[in-house]
């Protein structure tokens, strides 16, 4: 049976925070509802009060603040994918957002929902990890900001408190010495959850990769960077051999973090193959 609950639709951030303050644990926030509606239909929603934040305009902006890009949690995947600012300063995120679900899901689903839902397969998370994004959580008494990699406790688990709202996602705008790639492997090409997704950022200095950031999704218990592989790539002149080596290390790191599971037999070689493609694409080198 469908879950039953009361419903509130605050029109300002202040009002929303008041409600969360008053009802705390008994509430659940809803944004686009693309994750939550499924739980509601299955009767799995535990909350008594659904707080619909979708009518709070100030949470729906993409802004440039100095050299920072600042995204409101209600920005949809569709808006991210078509934003000129994102295309220029964080194309890896635009591509990740564009790979989510279908046009209908991208028009409803928000980046905030994607972050808070904390699915290991969430597509924007690896992109946000390589962008070194900060998330801002706010409650009536005040706010805190932390790196996205510190935000997760495990699959579907984050440190957000019952009275807190995610209000902002920020990261440094990238200039064009940064190259990037995002690759998603799913059971089919559209409307499918990632089995593996990979985000890569590489800052190039002439021929050399000055800094490389790699994150893979759907493959580790919490979002993280592939630091060993990044170390191999840092300062290197990208070549087939270096890429091969780095991909092998990513696959190893992935298994070290997630342990050997039934899916590992497929995932280990597939991650290696995909990381190779992602690095080749980021470094723009052929085969």
């Amino acid at each position: 049976m469908r879950s039953e609950f009361a419903y509130a639709s605050p029109s300002s951030l202040g009002e929303a925070l008041e409600i969360l303050k008053d009802f705390g644990e008994r509430t659940c926030v809803i944004a686009g509802g693309t994750d939550l509606m499924i739980a509601i239909r299955e009767g799995e929603l535990r909350a008594e009060l659904l707080v619909d934040i979708s009518r709070i305009p100030e949470l729906r902006l993409i802004r440039e603040e100095g050299n920072q890009i600042c995204i409101g949690p209600l920005v949809t995947h569709g808006e991210l994918a078509s934003s000129g600012l994102i295309k220029k300063g964080a194309s890896v995120l635009g591509r990740a957002a564009n790979s989510v679900g279908s046009p209908q899901i991208r028009n409803m689903g928000t980046i905030g929902g994607n972050i808070i839902n904390a699915s290991p397969a969430a597509d924007t998370i690896p992109a946000l990890v390589v962008l070194e994004a900060q998330v801002t959580l706010k409650k009536r008494e005040g706010e805190r900001s932390l790196p996205i990699t510190d935000f997760y406790l495990g699959p579907y688990k984050t440190i957000i408190g019952a009275q807190e709202l995610l209000t902002k996602i920020t990261f440094a705008k990238l200039d064009d010495t940064w190259k990037s790639s995002f690759i998603k492997l799913a059971r089919r090409k559209a409307l499918a959850i990632s089995r593996i997704n990979i985000a890569v950022l590489a800052k190039m200095d002439e021929m050399r990769a000055k800094e490389v950031r790699v994150s893979i999704g759907s493959s580790t218990p919490t979002p993280c960077r592939m630091e060993k592989a990044e170390a191999v790539l840092r300062g290197a002149v990208p070549s087939a051999a270096v890429i091969e080596e780095a991909s092998r290390i990513v696959a190893e790191e992935m298994v070290a973090r997630s342990g050997v599971r039934p899916s590992t037999e497929y995932k280990r070689p597939a991650v290696q193959g995909l990381v190779k493609k992602a690095l080749q694409e980021a470094f723009n080198i052929g085969l």
Partner: protein, 767 residues
């Protein structure tokens, strides 16, 4: 004969109605006082029902009826009467219906269902048909031999074998001894869902005084369903009244009593109030019916030059818990496992076995997918081993006009060769091309198929020329979504000589429209087309006689074309409407013509030893050629291009034929590379479209449909059929292309990326 519509890609006659949302599908049917049904389903695969307590359910406000198998103790079955409307004594698969509720609202019905308490005693279950056929397996139907069943299907008492059949022609031992090389291979093909857009649905109303059940349903064969229901309930045909709605897709899945059965059981207890039952996607995926899973063994003797000398086939089919059309699928499928190839000595053993799984039944191709998968993969294995071009080995063994089929029927094989030539040419067979870039490797494969139609089966129709010259065609052929109404209207328009838009084909109504076997077996264009052509010629003749009378002309000198009657001598033209108005004045009147087509007396199906039933009034030939690209790092198979050449006899509507071909190829790619049920002790774990993945548009290749027209001597305007055969060659064409790319053969479907990658790692172990 010159035609105005036949042979042209006229748009669908029902397109406007559908795109504007006017068309009524079963889920759209709303009636005054209508109640909603919901179903309690078994959580267990095999269990004895100890007790069902429905008292709490009955007390839910708005509930009008709670029905169990005890309340409605009937069984049905098209071939074997083995299926209860609601489980009695035992449940035999997970999600089998146990009880049903009718209530004022869907929510109340659902709430009541959740309040029904059932006590079970779990029984050992069996899911693999090979294990179920072995001695000592748990018996699923203890009273199997006591069920009513057609004598065509041999039951093996005391076992789970629902149908056992053997057949041989020639002397296989002799044939095998003449071979230079003997090939033995095993193949597996998995069950898949039909995934129609519209799930199973029915609205049923019971009129207690007249004891008539009225059923609104999007089934593919209203007469068969009404007959089966009447038979199950001990009613006359007139007491089960089927009204066909438009159908949101069938693919064989709507070829059984599914939601109708629940609706009938409920309507019996709602005092005349109609009940609507609409399956959720979960119910559709887990408790309607699926394609028969099959294990196939082929032993084939071949000469060095590729000539087939003998073939022995052994097939074990999974029937699921109830038989639906399984027995006929197992029979007709087995008959075509030898492919479109002249084989002097053949033998097959085909057994259909019950398991504790969702029933399986008709699925586009009716057994042809399963057998073509084995036959065509093995043809490639043979060609490869003997170093013969896969195109050549097929050409060498193809049936030629005048060759005899396995029952001795003389084949009309024109068109077969042309499909192979055109498809392989289109894909660039034998041309040089760049086979690999980095991790991506390409390959090409072909596969051919033979598909007959159920023979003999009958179709009847009435054509009514109304007093104003408009025309109504009364037929029980449903519009399943493939363009039946359009094609039949084209045939009617050209047979009579009237404009297409003067023709109306209402949806079938078994109290009004005459018998038709059903929209199955790719038979409608040919069979109902012939019936309509006959009726059309009759009314045309009568129109001309009336016109001659009205005009005082010689009927022999009159022509009817596009609704105008022309005197060949004077070139004087009068409209049909004027003639009808003159003849019937202000009072009105109708010209009636009937048509009945049966192939029963055609010499085409003459066969040896009175085994006519194995033959077919027409044979559909097809060849698919596929090009694939395999990513050796991820195991992902991308189909780049499929050329699909089909001998349709004559394309009444080329666009409709192309749509059938494209749709089938899409289905074929989807069930070869994407679709797969994940099972856990009989429970389907991926029971929504989020998890049961069908190929998306972005996964599809360029599809090149190629129409070959061999002109059937007895088909309407030369037409045969196209609905089914375009699916079966797709899977083996893809598998053969993967072999060409990697040198790795996959004999088990589906070909998942996990299997591909694991096979590659086995071949090239990492250092």
């Amino acid at each position: 004969m010159k035609t105005n519509y036949v042979g042209k890609s006229v748009p669908r006659v029902d397109a406007l109605e559908k795109v504007t949302g006017q068309a009524i599908y079963c889920v759209d049917v709303e009636l005054p006082g209508m109640l909603y049904g919901a179903v309690l389903r078994s959580p267990l695969a095999h269990a004895r029902i100890i007790e069902i307590d429905k008292s709490a359910a009955t007390r839910v406000p708005g509930v009008k009826a709670v029905v169990t198998g005890n309340d409605f103790p009937y069984t049905f079955g098209h071939m074997v009467k083995d299926q209860p409307f609601l489980a009695m004594d035992k449940v035999r698969y997970v999600n089998e219906p146990l009880a049903a509720v009718a209530a004022d609202t869907e929510a109340a019905a659902q709430e009541a269902v959740e309040k029904i308490q059932v006590k079970y005693e779990e029984l050992p279950a069996v899911f693999d048909p090979r294990k179920a056929a072995a001695t000592g397996a748990p018996i699923i139907h203890e009273n199997l031999e006591r069920y009513d069943h057609s004598s065509m299907y041999k039951i093996v008492p005391g076992t789970n074998v629902c149908t056992h059949m053997t057949y041989s022609r020639g002397d296989v031992d002799k044939g095998l001894s003449e071979a230079d090389e003997i090939f033995q291979n095993e193949f597996y093909i998995h069950p898949v869902a039909h995934t129609p857009m519209e799930t199973h649905a029915a609205v049923v109303q019971h009129d207690p005084s007249g004891r008539v059940f009225t059923v609104w349903s999007s089934t593919d064969a209203p007469y068969q369903r009404a007959k089966d229901l009447a038979n199950a309930l001990g009613l006359s045909f007139n007491q089960v009244h089927f009204l066909s709605t438009y159908s949101g897709g069938g693919f064989g899945g709507k070829g059984a009593i599914v939601a109708e059965g629940i609706g009938v059981a409920l309507a019996r207890f709602t005092k005349g109030r109609p009940v609507k039952v609409v399956f959720s996607r979960q119910e559709e995926l887990t408790a309607s019916q699926v394609r028969l899973e099959a294990f196939l063994k082929l032993k084939t003797g071949v000469k060095k030059d590729g000539t087939l000398t003998a073939r022995v086939a052994e097939i074990t089919w999974d029937n699921g818990a109830y038989s639906s059309k399984g027995p006929e699928v197992a029979r007709r499928g087995a008959m075509t496992i030898f492919g479109p190839y002249r084989t002097p000595h053949i033998r097959f053993v085909s057994q259909l076995v019950y398991t504790n799984k969702q029933p399986s039944g008709a699925y586009r191709g009716f057994g042809t997918n399963q057998v073509t998968w084995a036959c065509e993969a093995q043809m490639d294995i043979i060609a490869n081993k003997l170093g013969i071009n896969p195109v050549e080995i097929r050409l060498k063994n193809f049936y030629q006009d005048g060759d005899r089929y396995i029952n001795g029927q003389v084949m009309q094989a024109a068109g077969l060769r042309e499909t192979l030539e055109k498809a392989s040419q289109e894909i660039g067979w034998g041309e040089q091309y760049s086979r690999s870039t980095g991790a991506l490797v390409r390959g090409k494969g072909i596969a051919t198929t033979i598909k007959g139609t159920a023979t003999p089966t009958d179709s009847y129709c009435f054509i009514k020329v109304n007093f104003d010259g408009s025309i109504t065609v009364l037929t029980s052929s449903v519009e399943i979504g493939a363009g039946q109404k359009t094609v039949l209207a084209q045939i009617a328009a050209d047979s009579i000589g009237v404009p297409l838009d003067s023709i109306l084909i209402p949806n079938p109504d078994t109290h009004v429209t005459p018998f038709d076997f059903g929209v199955t077996s790719s038979r409608t264009t040919y069979h109902m087309g012939n019936a309509i052509r006959m009726a059309g010629q009759k009314v045309r003749k009568e129109i001309l006689e009336i016109a001659a009378d009205v005009l005082g002309a010689n009927p022999q000198r009159l022509l009817l074309c596009e609704g105008k009657i022309m005197d060949k001598d004077s070139e004087h033209e009068v409209s049909l409407k004027e003639i009808m108005t003159k003849k019937y004045g202000g009072k009105g009147g109708t010209i009636l013509g009937d048509g009945h087509y049966t192939p029963a007396r055609s010499s085409i199906i003459n066969a040896e030893h009175k085994i006519q039933w194995m033959g077919s009034i027409f044979w559909m030939w097809a060849t698919h050629a596929a090009e694939v690209e395999v990513d050796t790092e991820t195991g992902v198979v991308k189909v780049l291009r499929i050329a699909a050449a089909h001998d349709v006899g004559r394309a009444i509507n080329p666009m409709a034929c192309e749509q059938q071909i494209e749709g089938s190829v899409i289905m074929g790619i989807s069930n070869t590379l994407f679709e797969e049920f994940k099972m856990d002790r009989g429970r389907i774990m991926n029971d929504t479209f989020a998890d049961y993945k069908v190929a998306s548009m972005l996964d599809l290749p360029v599809i090149v449909p190629i129409i070959v027209e061999s002109h059937h001597s007895e088909g309407p305007f030369g037409a045969k059929g196209i609905g089914e055969p375009a699916l079966s060659p797709t899977a083996p064409a893809i598998a053969n292309a993967i072999f060409d790319a990697l040198g790795i053969r996959f004999n088990e479907l589906p070909i998942t990326r996990e299997k591909v990658l694991s096979a590659l790692r086995e071949r090239d172990p990492v250092q």
